[in-house]
Structure formats: structure tokens, C-alpha cells
Symmetry: C2
Subunit: 385 residues, 2 copies
């Protein structure tokens, strides 16, 4: 007998008050009541994004809004730079190429990152670059990119915007959108926001709006200008997922009461505890140099397929972890720290990982991973572990 425990980098466990909101009677979206709710939700998103600019809400996967960013900001044959360090970086490349963008790719091997200065060099070399696309947290490899420095660099170029996929970064790690000069920041509902998949968001700076200007957007659905006009008065252009918006309202209330800083601190504690615990168990981290706090990508011990570890954690204890993607499948397992999981959940996962490894014949000292995680907690509380 065990509960199902979701530890994937999206979807993440639902807040209880989100579950309740999802079972409310359906609303009609062309009503005063709904306009009031959408306005409240957009305001809550601006709080989480820490921005005074527009945040647009779409009924879509985040990939849809990523495509929206490409087609609103750029015309065919415009130039872009993509910083690509994993599967989601490759998605930016695919999106740009689909729309005929002249795409320059700055890539690094999986598990590593790109130095923002390399982007500066490219921008100097190609001054007509219209956009730089990047991830904040690359959830295929578990790295975090230095968005703050990238923001400082790109804001020096008046004709270039920085577009950040922060789908697994927003609400997980510090991300002051205006303070860091980030022009477009994209997020999704099923990550730190603790609601089901189905909604995606984009903040859009004044600089980005200027660039969008009078571009002829080739997308009907993802026409940001049209959508902005509607959302300024609490409407959406097309039928929105009203139940998810009610759920989002509850999640944003929870985050505002908790504060975005505490939400981020929680993910940071879980991430550091997991990294320290994994290392104390003799496991290697895939992204050693610049680990994201959204998830920890752990290498399976030599001779063991990570699928077996994942399967045993599920069958014996109910945990759902993500495998590696593509060529990393079977080599790593990914433990997420985003959303409605707390330190207690992470302690139990570490203890169960120890049991699974022991039963697979790996030499681990039972309790030692937990002890390492407890030490992180105590140090963060200012107590000697």
C-alpha cells in the first residue's frame, strides 16, 4: 500500500485548493465575473514574474507560446541566436527553422552550459540579430543558464530581445524579469504553479512590443497584439480553459500568501538536499557545474540501467521519476523539485532511493543520504549539522 508520488519536472502535484477549484461548476467566459477573475489572475502572474509589463495567458502548451514568441518577434529571414544545451534548446532551433528564421546556434555538450560572453561575441559579430532564445533551466540535462548576465548583455543591443523559456525556472529560482532586462519570459501551468497542464504565459517588455510593432503575424491564434487588447479588458480572444483559470487563481493566491521568495527558497532547499544526498551515496550528478534547482539529473551507478531504478521506485514505493531523454535514456534519472513537494517528501524519496539501490546490490550506507540532506536543512536554519 502506497500513495502515488509525482517527482517529474512537470506535471507536478496539485495543490489541494487547486483540486477543489477544478471541481467547481463551469463558468461562462463572456461574463463580468470571468473578466474579474482573469484580471486578478494576470495581476497574480505579474507578481510571480516580478514585472510591471504585460503577461499574456494562453490556453496552450508552453511550446505554443514559444512558437508565438518566434512568429510575433521575427519575420522570415530575420536573424536569431539560439543558445542550445539540451532538448529544449533544440526545440527553439526547430521553431526558428520552421518559420524560416536565419538561426545561429550556440551549443554545448549535454550537461554543460554556454558562457554568456560567447553570446556577446556573436551579437557583436551579427549586429542585425533580432532575438536571442535561451532556456533558464534546461530540464533534459538539469543545468541552469546565466540569464542575469545574458540580460545585461542583450539589453545593450537596442534592436535585439532576449527570449527566455522559463517553463521550469519561474517560481523555482530567482527571476526578477524587469530587474534582469528579460524581454519575453515563457512559463507553463504544470510546473511551479501546481496546476494541470493546459495554460502557458509570456511576459512581454516594452522593447519586445516595439520590435513586434506592426509585424504581420503569421499566426491567428498566437497573435500577441490582438491578445493583449483583449486581456487588458479581462477577456481572451478565443474560448479559454476556464476551469484551469479558476485553478490558477487558487495557486496564485497560495503563492502570494507564501511569497514568491519562500516558494523559491523551498525549491532551493529540496534541490541542494538532493544533490548533497546523491553525492553522499556515491552517485554522480549529470550537471555538476551549473545545476538547476528545478531538477537534479542523477547518473545511474555503473552497470545499472536507470530505468530499473525508476521502475523499482515506482513499484515498491509509488514514486514517479523521469528517465533521461533521447540518448540519455537508461543512463540518468531526473528528480524534480518544483511544485507542491516539500522537504519531508524529498527526505522520504532519498530514503527510498537508498533502499532501491541497496536491493539492486549497490553498496550504500542506509540513512547516509538522508543524513546529508538533514545537514543541508540544519545549515540553512543556521544550526550546526
Amino acid at each position: 500500500m502506497f500513495k502515488s508520488r509525482l517527482f517529474t519536472p512537470g506535471p507536478t502535484p496539485l495543490l489541494p485548493q487547486v483540486q477543489q477549484a477544478l471541481s467547481l461548476p463551469i463558468l461562462h467566459h463572456r461574463t463580468k465575473e470571468f473578466r474579474h477573475i482573469l484580471t486578478e489572475v494576470l495581476d497574480g502572474l505579474r507578481y510571480l514574474y516580478d514585472t510591471k509589463h504585460d503577461v499574456l495567458l494562453y490556453t496552450a502548451s508552453a511550446t505554443g507560446v514559444m512558437e508565438g514568441a518566434v512568429v510575433n518577434l521575427l519575420n522570415r529571414k530575420d536573424e536569431a541566436i539560439v543558445v542550445s544545451v539540451g532538448k529544449f534548446g533544440e526545440r527553439w532551433v526547430d521553431l526558428c527553422r520552421t518559420h524560416g528564421i536565419t538561426t545561429r546556434v550556440l551549443s554545448a555538450p549535454y550537461g554543460q552550459v554556454i558562457d554568456p560572453q560567447d553570446v556577446a561575441v556573436q551579437l557583436e559579430k551579427y549586429p542585425s540579430t533580432r532575438a536571442v532564445f535561451v532556456q533558464y533551466s534546461e530540464s533534459s540535462t538539469g543545468v541552469k543558464l546565466n540569464i542575469k548576465t545574458l540580460g545585461e548583455i542583450v539589453c545593450q543591443f537596442p534592436q535585439t530581445v532576449l527570449v527566455v523559456d522559463a517553463v521550469t525556472g519561474l517560481g523555482v529560482m530567482e527571476l526578477p524579469v524587469d530587474g534582469w532586462h528579460l524581454d519575453v519570459v515563457i512559463a507553463g501551468s504544470q510546473k511551479a504553479l501546481m496546476i494541470p497542464p493546459g495554460l502557458a504565459f509570456a511576459s512581454i517588455s516594452e522593447k519586445a512590443w516595439r520590435l513586434i510593432g506592426n509585424n504581420r503575424c503569421p499566426s491567428f491564434y498566437f497573435d500577441f497584439r490582438k491578445e493583449r487588447e483583449q486581456q487588458l479588458r479581462g477577456e481572451t480572444s478565443y474560448t479559454p480553459s476556464t476551469s484551469l483559470i479558476l485553478a490558477l487563481r487558487e495557486a496564485l493566491k497560495f503563492i502570494r500568501e507564501l511569497s514568491r521568495e519562500v516558494l523559491i527558497e523551498n525549491a532551493g532547499l529540496l534541490a541542494e538536499a538532493t544533490r548533497v544526498a546523491a553525492k553522499s551515496l556515491g552517485l554522480h550528478l549529470f550537471a555538476e557545474a551549473a545545476p538547476s534547482d528545478a531538477l537534479t539529473v542523477v547518473c545511474a551507478p555503473s552497470g545499472i540501467d536507470s530505468s530499473t531504478i525508476i521502475k523499482n521506485l515506482k513499484n515498491d514505493f509509488g514514486y514517479i521519476l523521469a528517465n533521461g531523454q533521447g540518448e540519455m535514456r537508461g543512463k540518468v534519472f531526473r528528480i524534480a523539485h518544483l511544485g507542491y513537494n516539500d522537504f519531508c517528501d524529498t527526505l522520504a524519496l532519498i530514503a527510498c532511493l537508498e533502499l532501491v539501490l541497496r536491493r539492486l546490490g549497490v553498496s550504500v550506507n542506509l540513512g547516509s543520504g538522508v543524513r546529508a540532506a538533514q545537514g543541508v536543512y540544519l545549515r540553512r536554519k543556521g544550526v550546526d549539522g
Copy 2:
């Protein structure tokens, strides 16, 4: 940021499917549909009780049905024996005395139990004893009574019935009601059944019905004969808590799919792991000799008030544990193993208890309680810990 984690010996966490059932539209109780549901529920209760006899369902606290047992089985001045080893034994005494029963009390100091042979001696001495009242699990002290042997003893006396308060025992420890010759067994909804408080149950053997016979029951609401007639056709005499009955249907479906044996095995694992972990942390158990698997009563380390441990577990991690009752308040804390809590939940609680003790200045080896609990798990799985 943390979740609320209920570890009290009732109420216990709700099953997710119970939460859903509680939000269903209200039913009317004088309908064919409801009769079908109540009949299914009573059948499910007979499965959990492992009995072919009647199980009556009441909209009441278990105390109400305990009183029902007293007033249906006994008339004023009838003789009874109460086995009393804690607060709930004292409740049997209060109930019997309220109704003018000639009550002989066999008591033991808190934390200890009564030898069933002492009951045999009393029954030989007072052959007109009409009922023996006892707890299976005394949740004020954490002991388990030897109900199996008591059943063997009492069934030798054709004019005496054994009445067991199994409120925190049913679904937690082995309890074959017919196999152990138990005449009346009382349970409540908010324990192993994982639904809210508000329903209580009593199984009633043929021997108990014979004793009830044509007694003039002084209670209108708790008249078991009248209620039996109604429930045989899927009705209740008075308006029942229909939403709780829908919830109970879901809980009983879950238990049947899992099997009562696995439900009991889960509580046994949690209980043994907690006992072994507490001892490995240098803590003393209040009920060392005959510990119940429903809850573990742990003594606070010398010089520390258990209220402080309970408060810190709540404020730092969201755990809700019970304090000692009456004179044990401040001296012990009680960790429940019943209901919808699994091994992962218990591992995390142990790790957090270690942290709380350490921060209170108690010398504990971080991770050692978890390690002891992991060892229990591995031994039960046949693996060398």
C-alpha cells in the same frame, strides 16, 4: 512551505477517492439507489470484520455505539466485567455505571495490560456476568490486549458475551471476528477506514442477539433490534449521513481491492519501523510489553516536554501528532499508523523527528532512526538490512 500531515490516532488522512465522493451531489436516503448503496456498504463492512454475522451502521461517534452495546445487552443491575487499561477502558466503566450496571473493573497501570486468565478467574467467580467489555487497542497508552485468548475464554460461558472496542484495532491488526468468537465489535469511520468521523459500526453475533432477546432497550436511537430490521432491507431507522456512506463505499472498495491483509500488513510495517527507529534514537516506548500497531506512544527524552516536540514538528514540518491524555500530557507523544499513511510518510516523519530532537539539544545521530526503519523494511522483504 510544507503540507499538513496528520499522524493522530483518528482522524486519519482521507483517501483521495473519499474526498471525491464527499463532494458528490446529495442523495435521498429513502430511495432504491440508497438501499443498494447501504447494502453494498454493509457487505463491505462484513468483509473487513471477517464475519458472517450482522454489522450495524450508525450515524454516531463510536462512543454512541459503545453505549448502545451496554444498553442493548444489559439491564440495570446486570453484572459486567470491564478490562480497563487506559482512558478508553475508563469510558466502558463510565458507560456501565451510567446505566446502573454492576461493574467489576480489572485494571492495570497505564502502559500495561491484563492477562486474559485474570478474566477467566473473575468469570468463574461471578458466573452471572453478562458481558466483558474491553479494548483491542487502547489508544491512550498504545497497548494491545490479547483479544484472541479472551475470545476463547468467554465463549466457554454461554450466558456471557465479549464486547470489544476495536475502534483503533479494526483494519490495523488481525481481527477475525467470527474466528475469535467476538460477540460485539465496535469500530469508527475516522480510523483505518480513512473517512471523516461521523459513522460507527457494531458487529453482533448470534449469541449476542440471543442475549439481547426481548430486553427492553432504554434507548430509542440505539435500539439494535429495530435497527437490524431496517438495515436488513437497506434502510436506516433515522436519517443517516448519506455523504459519509458514499465515502465509506469508496474506502471499502479500496480495502477490498488492496485486501484487509495488506491493509493490516501496512500498519504493522509502519508500527514496527517506528518502534525500532524510536529505540535506535534512544527514546523509550510507553507500552514496551504489548505494543499496539495502531499507534506508538513515545516518551519524551528526560527534561523535554513532549508538547515542545509536537509543536516543533508542526511548526517546522506540518506534522500533527497527539499529546498524552490526562496525566500523560507533556510526557509522551503518540504517532499513529492507521489509515492512509504509508511507509514513505513514516520515513519522513522519523527523519523530521531526528531534526526536531537535534535542534532541542538531544544527542541523536542524524539518519540513524531512518536507517533502523529501513532495516525493518528490508527484513520484512527478506533482504539483509
